[in-house]
Symmetry: C2
Subunit: 297 residues, 2 copies
């Protein structure tokens, strides 16, 4: 698998998921203002890394990607809702997201909150409506989705992050790690798990895939912190150095840049090792892993 092939796969994923989401939201019997606001953020670009992880895990297990379209789309809806709510004035108060005005800057706070609520609620419907998935499997997927996105997952991370920002000292490495594991890690891990559930992975394969996604999630976040210092404003779509300016605790701040890069390398290596041990056809997952380490946005 080459980087060229990965780029093709990114386009494939984008096509599938964006077409699905556009159709799903357009067909809702809901006020056009709400649908517009939902679609504005759903189609605001993004790498579609999460859907790609669902697809690539299914592929590694020898299953058709199509099986994961509902789970991949649902997770993208949840990810999008979390971005809309995170950007609100009472949260991170961000004006720009991926180089475009944030949802509340375009539609106002009230509509942004409701669009987030709708994306969250209806993400479950996307999985429920998939006629190809057995009820037993649907319940398993929905259960994992709640764990990843809810009070014990992503929202826990978001609250901890907020509380961390309010304290005067920097976070410890353990606190920082705990925030990232929940705030971004759990949902990334859900993607791989969803692929594993739908692709009927064995217990052993599931365990290795979880090790893979756990390390990938941490690597992703370390690279995020590095990009905030070394990235280009044009590529990341927001001002460079905003973490430093906001006095956010980051890996480079706690460890120094060199050690942060070593830690990134360590987690990428652990991810790749886990993949190798599965003995599955994980070329694409490996390529995604390397992409996360090298990405410039």
């Amino acid at each position: 698998m080459s980087e060229q092939q990965l780029q093709e796969y990114i386009q494939f994923t984008k096509g599938k998921v964006e077409t699905f989401l556009h159709g799903y939201v357009t067909n809702l019997q809901a006020p056009s203002l709400l649908k517009e606001s939902m679609l504005y953020s759903l189609t605001a670009g993004g790498k579609r890394l999460r859907p790609m992880l669902v697809f690539a895990t299914l592929k590694a297990l020898g299953h058709d990607e199509e099986k994961g379209l509902a789970a991949a789309s649902a997770v993208e809806m949840i990810h999008t809702y979390s971005l809309i709510h995170d950007d609100l004035p009472s949260m991170d108060d961000d004006d720009l997201r991926r180089g475009k005005p944030t949802n509340h800057r375009v539609y106002g706070e009230a509509t942004a909150i409701l669009a987030g609520d709708a994306l969250l609620t209806n993400s479950f419907q996307v999985i429920i409506n998939d006629l190809e998935i057995k009820d037993e499997v649907k319940v398993k997927l929905l259960s994992e989705l709640v764990k990843a996105a809810g009070a014990e997952g992503m929202i826990k991370g978001q609250v901890a992050d907020m509380q961390g920002e309010q304290q005067h000292e920097h976070l410890t490495l353990q606190q920082l790690e705990d925030i990232h594991i929940h705030k971004t890690g759990k949902l990334l891990s859900f993607c791989v798990k969803a692929g594993a559930i739908l692709g009927e992975a064995t217990e052993e394969q599931l365990e290795l895939l979880e090790k893979f996604s756990f390390n990938l999630g941490l690597a992703f976040q370390i690279q995020d912190d590095i990009l905030d210092i070394e990235g280009s404003e044009e590529a990341i779509g927001k001002p460079v150095g905003s973490d430093t300016e906001n006095e956010k605790t980051t890996y480079p701040l706690l460890l120094g840049m060199e050690a942060a890069k070593q830690k990134l390398h360590h987690h990428i290596q652990s991810s790749l090792d886990a993949l190798k041990t599965t003995k599955l056809d994980t070329g694409l997952l490996e390529e995604i892993c390397l992409y996360v380490a090298k990405r410039d946005r």
Copy 2:
């Protein structure tokens, strides 16, 4: 069934649901701030009308109420999340709810938004975790819950309500009705439907129960509008006349007080007729219906 018995049933429902919700939230592996904020609004009183509808429908169908505890609790979580988000400064900007400071007045906007998000997400888990419900039935319940609460249900009503408030003219009766059917009616109807699904109602019974809950929902809202004019501030826990002050379109405003009361009576009668036609033991549902018409808060 007497009013005395209804009061006992209200206490029974409160006990069951509040104990369940308190235990569920307390046991979450989540930051205490988040759990506190969730519990603050979950335990802020309220009539527990929605849970009671789940229980009473099960009872009418000859089933044990216990079967509906998960659905009843889930719906109360969704109702509570909707109140927290509705009260936010960018939405209705309310300082008081049931005579107590609103969630964001106590915990701040960011935590209030996240507590709402968590109540919504985790409400699904409450149903998923019930070991007594078959997967097939869980999927049906979750599907109905999304329809009732999501972009085509409660959120649709909320957006339409917001858009109505922004326009300079009063709403038409049809617009007003459409808002209420979605904003409050869908979730009330879900409760009866959940009871019907769990209580294995026949198609015919379900249809009549839906007619009952549809009319009950409208009656509920008309009485709400009447109470805003004729109620006592102490009983309703917020200033009387706030609808008039906020130039909200209400049934008394559109129809006049007399005709509004007649319309209330009409919907209550339709509810009772539908119940009667089921030939089930609907004494409790009838009592709830009369309670909605007579309630002072």
